[in-house]
Amino acid sequence: MTKTERIENLNRLSGTDVRKCMKCGKCSGRCPAFKEMDIKPHQFVSMLGQGKIDELLACNAIWNCLSCMACVERCPRGVAPAAVVEAVRDTVVRAQGANGIKAEDIPPIVDEYIPQQLLVSAYRKYNK
């Protein structure tokens, strides 16, 4: 696939129009995972707009986004930064052998209280 096709695909998968962003930074200002994100929510939006997708696809932030939708809620321009983060993460984990978690990762974190919901959520977010 050409780079242009890959950029187009990320835009389509996110379902959000990154060109509407006015670079106010409110999304990142509200992000509860901000400190843990090597690329911040507003940068996901602007970098996709600029076609800097190789950096996005190599970032660590996709594993730390909590899908809390605070960025979506606060954006005054109706952009959904979380959907860009998810489009990048989906693109990464949909590649063969690129799942974010492995079955061996599970037992060490399981305690007697862990809800099924946590494991189902993590599998849905990190694996395909």
């Binding site: 509860p32 939708m69 099924q116």
Partner: protein, 259 residues
């Protein structure tokens, strides 16, 4: 009154208390929760990828069942509610998703988002009425209680339409109805850290401690939630700063119904 009910997988296992107390209270309040047949796990997280269809089919099946069984679908787990309500919106408003989901499912009649998705808290407020709950209380909760909304009930508010996403009041009104004193605190609609413990164990710890510290500073003696994952994070990752319960456990206490 009967209403179709989607329990979800966690409420059948680690969060049994949420399911059991909710059913007992509903019966006491004159609502019969009828568990829908053959439901499957909803997947717990709404997929935002515009090409995601298979991950939404479980929600569509439940919604279609409810369409033919009373027209309403009652949810209780915040995560189920979020997934089912957002998927329902897709079926209503996103022609592409609606077409592809129906094309696969081959239902007798296409499902187009006709079912009304109702969270248990909305049922208490709009169907039973907080005034009627107040009248049914036999053991008023004479404690200071912090409502923990988390993310999934509120956001994105355009679709969830649950309450004011920045300054919600429904759980505080619920606490008043059962005789408690609601404590509002700034972190009540901030994320607890969700599912990232598999990738970053520290993050849910920090987030959960922050939520409970914020509630404690404002005087809460305990915190209530509608989400098994919020409960887990706050309890296990929150250093026991405050006790955390399901809101239905307090309702059962107030109504004097026992599991």
């Amino acid at each position: 009154m009967k209403i179709s009910y989607y329990p979800g997988c966690t409420l059948k296992t680690k969060a049994k208390e949420l399911d059991v107390t909710a059913r007992l209270c509903a019966t006491a309040l004159g609502v019969e929760m009828e568990e829908i047949e053959n439901w499957q796990c909803c997947g717990a997280v709404y997929p935002t990828g515009t090409d995601e269809i298979a991950t939404k089919l479980s929600a569509v099946r439940a919604l279609d069942y409810a369409k033919h069984h009373g027209g309403k679908l009652l949810t209780l787990c915040s995560a189920c509610h979020n997934v089912i309500k957002r998927t329902n919106e897709d079926m209503k408003a996103d022609g592409d998703i609606c077409f592809r989901a129906n094309n696969y499912l081959k239902l007798d009649a296409p499902y187009k988002g006709e079912t009304e998705v109702l969270h248990y808290l909305e049922m208490l407020k709009n169907v039973v009425g907080f005034d009627n709950i107040k009248k049914a209380v036999v053991n008023p909760i004479n404690r200071k209680v912090g409502a923990y909304y988390g993310c999934l009930l509120l956001r994105p508010s355009g679709v969830m339409a649950f309450d004011n996403p920045e300054n919600p009041t429904i759980i505080e009104d619920f606490i008043k109805a059962i005789g408690g004193t609601p404590v509002t605190y700034p972190f009540r609609n901030e994320c607890c850290g969700a599912y990232v413990s598999l990738k970053n164990a520290e993050l849910p710890k920090q987030k959960s401690r922050k939520v409970l510290t914020s509630a404690k500073e404002k005087g809460a003696e305990e915190v209530i939630t509608a989400c098994p994952l919020c409960l887990y994070n706050l309890q296990v990752n929150g250093d026991n700063i405050l006790p955390v319960k399901y809101f239905t456990e307090l309702l059962a206490e107030a109504l004097g119904v026992k599991a």
